[in-house]
């Protein structure tokens, strides 16, 4: 009973309850357009949450998150369309394939540090997007592949599927950050040259983390493109590789909930501006860019950082 009362006193309980109600109830009452937006947002959030582990805990700003998104998605598309596998088998297959690709990519790229790593992975995205465009017989290139079978019939169930994956990743992130593994990642972020002196095999942890987060990203790609039933190389350009990083950083790097807020801002902002500035559709990208610049320069801690600052300020005023 005391335990329940404690829960009732905590603010986070109410936040959690509100979020649950929102997630369960809202999709049933929203228009197809809003539902589609929410599904897109959720898949962006998954990619960013995976990146958040690599960036926020390990300190590696990866710009090839959408490569793994693409690998997972194309595994789904090719396995179902070309091999005739059922979509649920393909959903299990896609993280396995992405894990292998992620591990192989980790071997060369994790030798680079900080922005060298960022630019190296950006070049990797360039290579992969060129492969997608230049092999039309396999990937369908610009014209794309149509008729990817859906995992579940209803759009709302796709949303729940993604929310389930978000929860799994959230729990895994929190567990990881409290475990020995998380401590090692933070040690790598703070001083990678010092960490091996404590007998930590940094290379192994780095590669495993990178591959595991890639695998989950690949799964998100598989779900999203099964929802969309259509895939083309246009979704995986070099420009789109920045989105995941923007979501992770704008939300607040190194916090478990950051990417969720980041997704709301980065993926949601364009849609808000679509509604607000009906006569100025042409200038929409400028607004999005301005939001990114403002958030990052005003608060390097992202949206979470801003809200913490704000709460601290309000508390101070309350005390006075």
């Amino acid at each position: 009973m005391d335990f329940m009362l404690d829960l009732l006193k905590k603010k986070s309980t109410y936040v959690f309850l509100a979020a649950t109600i929102f997630v369960v109830v809202v999709p049933h009452f929203s228009s197809p357009y809003v539902l589609r937006l929410m599904i897109t947002m959720a898949s962006g959030i998954i990619a960013a949450m995976c990146l958040n582990v690599v960036l926020g805990y390990m300190g590696y700003p990866s710009l090839c998150q959408n490569v793994f998104y693409a690998v997972g998605a194309y595994t789904m598309a090719l396995a179902t369309l070309r091999l005739g596998v059922s979509p649920w088998t393909a959903l299990i297959l896609s993280p396995i394939v992405t894990f292998i690709i992620g591990y192989l990519a980790a071997i060369p790229f994790l030798k680079l540090r900080s922005m060298f790593f960022a630019i190296g992975t950006l070049a990797f995205t360039g290579v992969v997007s060129a492969i997608l465009v230049n092999l039309p017989k396999i990937t369908g290139a610009d014209a794309g592949l149509r008729g990817i079978p859906r995992l579940v019939k209803n759009d709302i169930n796709f949303f729940y599927l993604e929310i389930a994956l978000i929860l799994v990743i959230l729990v895994l992130t929190v567990l990881m950050s409290r475990s020995f593994w998380g401590k090692i990642l933070i040690a790598i972020r703070e001083d990678e040259d010092l960490a091996p002196h404590f007998g930590i095999n940094t290379t192994r942890y780095k590669r495993m983390t990178f591959a595991a987060t890639s695998a989950l990203t690949g799964m998100a790609g598989a779900i999203f493109f099964s929802y969309q039933t259509y895939i083309s190389s246009n979704y995986f350009t070099i420009g789109s590789s920045f989105t995941a990083l923007a979501v992770a950083v704008v939300g607040g790097g190194g916090t478990a909930l950051g990417p969720i807020f980041g997704g709301l801002v980065v993926v949601g902002a364009p849609e808000v501006f679509r509604g607000m500035t009906a006569g100025m559709t042409l200038w929409r990208p400028s607004f999005v860019g301005a939001v990114l610049v403002l958030v990052i320069l005003l608060s390097p801690g992202g949206v979470v950082g801003i809200s913490q600052k704000l709460m601290g300020y309000l508390k101070k005023r309350g005390a006075n």
Partner: protein, 286 residues
């Protein structure tokens, strides 16, 4: 065919070199990757275009004018946005992405999304063996080499160049011996941006100017400076010629779509063997 391909590769490499020099200069001093470089490459070409078409300035004076304008633009970018980032590469990357959205959007709205061709006064075609090269390309190549030489001389023999080298080696030490680190950063960033826009101005008559023309060029620029060693001028020059040749040769002999990809794979292989690039050394940059 081989003569023609080599001539094309030389011109392509020269344009890449102008841009990569700017990138490596900014990286050396500020230690951040400048993701607005591609956008400034494009805006240089468009300002040049408007000076010629709207204000009827001749080609060459317009070039100098546009370069000055982008120098000012770069100074504003550094003062207003990048200095606030405090040298954090992740902040610089996100701010760069946001600014690129804005700049590319402004270009699209002001000049339109369709490619524009700038008429160059250098239209004479010179035949060399079995190949042909337009005099615009010869001018481009000459300008690129002169810029590299001029930059080397400025860095080597002027007091301000010495200050730039000092800051790129050790920011704190440099400020201790009385170098105004902020001014050096401002001027370097502005100069680097100006180099990007000069690259765009010379590329536009060859490839036509479009709002997104900077994206691929920027990525190639980063590949070049990673290959050459970030912050190294000589590395940027060698890297530009290596990747420019790989790009043009693959494009000419295999297929148009694979040029950039093979160049990136080449860069990835090199950094696997030497993670600091061909000429990158710890502690000594520019």
């Amino acid at each position: 065919m081989i003569t023609q391909v080599i001539l094309n590769a030389l011109v392509q490499s020269a344009i890449l070199m102008i841009m990569a020099l700017g990138l490596t200069l900014i990286f050396g001093v500020m230690k951040i990757p400048n993701l607005t470089h591609g956008a400034m490459y494009a805006i240089g070409a468009f300002i040049h275009y408007s000076l010629i078409e709207w204000f009827e300035v001749p080609f060459v004076p317009a070039l100098f004018f546009a370069a000055l304008l982008t120098f000012g633009g770069g100074a504003i970018l550094e003062r207003v946005f990048f200095r606030k980032g405090g040298g954090s590469p992740v902040v610089a990357i996100i701010a760069g992405i946001g600014l690129t959205y804005v700049i590319v959007n402004v270009i699209t709205n002001v000049w339109g999304a369709w490619p524009l061709r700038i008429q160059t006064p250098f239209r004479h075609v010179v035949r060399i063996g079995s190949g042909a090269i337009s005099s615009h390309n010869i001018v481009t190549f000459t300008v690129a080499i002169s810029i590299a030489a001029l930059l080397y001389a400025l860095l080597k023999w002027t007091k301000f160049g010495c200050a730039i080298r000092a800051v790129s080696q050790d920011r704190e030490e440099a400020s201790l011996i009385g170098v105004n680190v902020n001014t050096v950063g401002l001027v370097t960033f502005a100069a680097g941006t100006m180099l990007a826009s000069i690259g765009g101005m010379f590329a536009a008559p060859i490839t036509a100017a479009s709002p997104t023309m900077g994206g691929t060029a920027e990525l190639m620029g980063f590949a070049i400076i990673i290959l050459g060693g970030m912050g190294s001028l000589g590395g940027a020059i060698i890297g530009a010629f290596l990747l420019g040749f790989v790009d043009v040769f693959v494009t000419s002999y295999i297929s148009g779509g694979w040029g950039g990809a093979v160049a990136f794979v080449f860069m990835i292989v090199v950094i696997l063997i030497r993670p600091s690039g061909l000429f990158g050394k710890k502690g000594r940059q520019i």
